[in-house]
Symmetry: C2
Subunit: 446 residues, 2 copies
């Protein structure tokens, strides 16, 4: 029998499919053709069926879906660590907002996004969902490194200029849609910042626009106690109830954080099929609180995982985020069985795909899905011995253990080297911008 020609076979590894049966294939392989997965099977079965233009030896490692980071502000990597361990209020008002105002422009957003895309490719993330300014630059950076992304302009619009700001943002979003119309990698979202930084009218206009154009609607929600108690005081409802009242919640809505939620809010999420981006490290570092993810999961709500920006984390390492998500859920529920390593892996893969409404394209290794694949090496003391693959990925591995990252069938990182860009040059440029930022940053007095 003649074998089918494929572009690439990844072999000599354990395939963690993250399909609906959580199938694990030891001595497995996958075949890729035209950016898609065409075969997932035991190595001998794959080699019996497919020939390959290229082969990649996983060297006994784990072959798994690329990780999906559903909440980022990529360019903020340029502000990584500039003001840690200060109060949230001071962090925002004395550091982040003024520095963004002064230093974040088209060029710096491009450099910061390149830096972050490189970091993600090196740590096994293949798709991200970003909200910031100058998002065209974020899209350009993603295409340059070869990452999949849902990009969208962050919208802060409330008060007298709100209509003007919204028109401008609508224009920018329309431009993004045009520019990336044919992109295999980039899709567009509408991203009002939060219920407290956008007026009722803008939140609704944004939803209307996102519906008309079939775009994801992404918003920060119920992140801090202040947001929660402010809404309770001013509107006598929770932030979630407020958004429901505005009729902006539906199955294309992705809400980030969701720390301050009443039980009734979970019913609302369930009813409208709202998805969550859980950001445990950011929530811990900023002292925001602990999102009740075990409850969310019990209600069948889709919970994905996000790192948030690198100014509040301070990395984009989804392995570290998986570990923290699991540990935090366990201690918060006072029982180790409250949350499993398998759930953490699903959160960072297939659930991320569902949150971005891309579950038919990415998030698992299955025939006909896009080939977003990573290989995690296991030949290190901290990964020896191995009894359980999920446990190892969540509790032992870190981003530096990823050996290969593939997006849409194309290798973006191989043997710890970025394939499509000059990393040394990106680092040099980021450091140059940081030198300027350092001079502009207020002295640490808080």
């Amino acid at each position: 029998m003649k074998r089918i020609r494929s572009d690439l076979i990844i072999e000599n590894g354990t395939v963690l499919t993250v399909d609906e049966n959580d199938s694990i294939i030891e001595r497995g392989a996958i075949a890729i053709s035209d950016g898609k997965i065409v075969g997932v099977d035991r190595e001998d079965a794959i080699n019996g069926k497919f020939s390959a233009a290229k082969r990649l030896d996983a060297k006994g490692g784990i072959i798994m879906p690329g990780l999906i980071n559903t909440h980022t502000h990529l360019a903020m990597s340029l502000l990584r660590g500039i003001a840690d361990d200060v109060s949230l209020d001071s962090w925002l008002k004395n550091y982040i907002f003024p520095l963004e105002e002064q230093f974040m422009n088209k060029d710096s957003v491009y450099v910061g996004s390149l830096l972050s895309c490189a970091e993600m490719a090196l740590s096994g993330t293949t798709t991200f969902c970003d909200m910031y300014f100058f998002e065209k630059e974020v899209g350009r950076a993603a295409e340059k490194i070869g990452m999949r992304a849902v990009i969208g302009e962050g919208i802060v619009a409330s008060g007298k200029n709100e209509e003007q700001i919204w028109q401008k943002k609508k224009e920018l979003t329309t431009e993004l849609m045009k520019k990336f119309n044919r992109s295999e990698l980039i899709s567009i979202g509408v991203k009002p910042h939060s219920p407290y930084t956008c007026s009722r009218k803008i939140l609704q206009e944004a939803k209307k626009f996102s519906k008309e154009n079939g775009l994801l609607y992404v918003i920060h929600l119920a992140e801090t106690e202040k947001e929660f108690s402010d809404f309770k005081k001013s509107a006598e409802m929770t932030p979630t109830q407020y958004l429901e009242k505005l009729d902006v919640l539906d199955n294309s809505t992705l809400a980030a954080h969701c720390v301050w939620m009443e039980d009734g809010d979970l019913d609302i999420f369930k009813k409208h099929e709202v998805k969550i981006s859980h950001c445990p490290q950011s929530n811990m570092k900023l002292g925001s609180g602990v999102a009740p993810i075990v409850k969310f999961l019990r209600e069948g709500i889709v919970v994905s995982l996000g790192t948030d920006g690198a100014a509040s984390n301070n990395t984009l390492d989804m392995f570290s985020e998986m570990k923290t998500a699991a540990l935090l859920a366990k201690v918060n529920n006072h029982e180790p069985q409250a949350f499993s390593a398998k759930e953490a892996v699903r959160m960072a893969t297939i659930k991320g795909a569902e949150a971005l409404r891309k579950e038919n394209e990415i998030g698992s290794l299955e025939v006909d899905k896009k080939a977003d694949v990573i290989v995690v090496g296991l030949d290190k003391p901290h990964l020896t011995p191995i009894y359980d693959y999920y446990s190892h990925l969540v509790y032992c591995a870190n981003g530096s253990d990823v050996k290969t990252s593939i997006v849409n069938g194309g290798v973006v990182m191989s043997d710890r080297k970025i394939k499509n860009a000059d990393l040394a040059d990106i680092i040099k440029k980021a450091n140059f911008i940081a030198t300027k930022i350092k001079k502009g940053a207020p002295a640490r007095t808080t």
Copy 2:
């Protein structure tokens, strides 16, 4: 002027001394001679004063004290991930205890300890404090890899055989003292497992013995709610009050975990100068709870950092542990300024030294201290740009960013390679033991 000859100069880096002024020396260097630090200064000053037999280029990285892990059970790396996400009770009774009984012997403890020492050397830990069985093998493994350690037999003795067990453990401890008498690296501790697994008499005998021989007294304390409520019920006091009543608390006592503590317990610790080994990842993963470290620090109690065994973590990466310690303290206190990155670094270095009563020997880079030094590389996207060294070490770095580990002036890891042992052979042997353990492990039904 003739320069003083030194064995090694580490140059071209930023020296984080962790001395009492937290001095940071940019373009700094250190000079090492006969296993000790003989110079810490700006690079030009060091080179003006010292010549060197060898030079190590830190390549713009951070030169800092080696990390000190004050609570380990090294050989448990062989059980890494064998039974995660089950209840603590089932974890202990159905998995850990029977598997230890069946598979932990002289040979496996040696191999497991070698594996863990390699993992630690690769992730920047230079000193550890271990409690397990067959501790002579742990000491041998530490000497082989070149690590500094406080080793000691775990003592579980309560009930009819307790006196017999204690005599045997005393014998073993005496043997350890003899065997490692001249060791530059190994010192010995007396290590009763906990107030609930040792009788009152044994706890006191062990204290007497440790005092007579000037040895550290190490014990698990107030780890779980069950331990706490059992003591409250049976003795009408907290586990800490119980130990005070037994008169076994003093400044040579190191208590691991200390999660379930009443305010009065803190006064007891303060009064007797008891030191703490904080193990946040283990406490989270086993659902034990959150140790009130911000309160401890406010009271001036010495808090060091431990990973616990790799079966409940599941790595020995102290960078990950520092991050978790900081994030957990922040979220638990609802404020980001509750705990700083600098405090986390001190906890993993000089406070670790104090916990082991070695603060005059290790824990900071100062002239006349032993040369336990690591170099952390910064030339990666997740460490770019840099505004604050402490923040980077705690929130961004992971163990894989360590480029060199030096203990007592000797290089134990260089460019991610273990210097004094065949790592591939250690991994092979660990995997072989794991194959046998796998066959003996109960099927996962819980």
